[in-house]
């Protein structure tokens, strides 16, 4: 099964969002 593709930098995420007209979902997490 395909997994969620997570960006780890903001600018590439913005670039993809602009290219694909998608909003960004930023997940702020802490390790268990």
């Amino acid at each position: 099964m395909a997994e969620i593709q997570w960006h780890e930098r903001l600018e590439p995420a913005f670039e993809q969002g602009r290219a694909e007209s998608k909003p960004l979902m930023l997940f702020i997490w802490t390790p268990d």
Partner: protein, 159 residues
């Protein structure tokens, strides 16, 4: 989230299809962190911040959500993203859809609240009042109903 919600096939497919996802470890001094969180210091995680592709934040939510709750949250978020673009029909489609497809989730009454805000753009105050009445009838108590049930139409503060 990483154990139960993200591996869920529906969640994975929906996120991949509709969002650009990024994750940041709160414990790391990430170079983009200030741009991610803005001026509001995160107090807890998991924290979700939703932005348009220009960096305009339009939603922030904290806490674990089960797959159903998270899927409803994502639909609600797409409704808000469409509202931000003034795509009212699309926005109403997503927001009304939350209450239809996920009626028992936390997001459902909130989606109806925001649907009233979207409806205002095309129907003015009468559309808001009609939708507020419907929200109160469907969800008689709850934080989103309390925001509207005692507000007289003339006192509504809509921007």
């Amino acid at each position: 989230m990483g154990t139960v919600t993200y591996p869920n096939a529906q969640i994975t497919e929906f996120v991949r299809e509709r969002f650009v996802a990024a994750k940041f470890n709160l414990k790391e001094r990430h170079p983009d962190f200030k741009d991610v969180v803005g001026r509001a210091k995160p107090l807890w995680s998991p924290l979700f911040i939703y932005m348009d592709c220009r960096g305009n934040e339009f939603r922030r939510n904290v806490g674990y959500l089960s797959p159903d709750e998270f899927l409803a949250e994502l639909h609600l978020t797409l409704g808000l993203a469409a509202l931000l673009r003034n795509a009212i029909d699309e926005s109403l489609g997503w927001l009304d859809g939350v209450a239809t497809a996920f009626p028992d989730t936390l997001a459902a009454p909130e989606a109806l609240y925001w649907a009233a805000a979207a409806a205002y753009r095309v129907g003015g105050i009468p559309a808001v009042v009609a939708r507020w009445d419907a929200l109160c009838a469907r969800y008689p108590d709850g934080p989103w109903t309390r925001r509207v049930r005692d507000v007289a139409p003339a006192e509504a503060r809509i921007t």
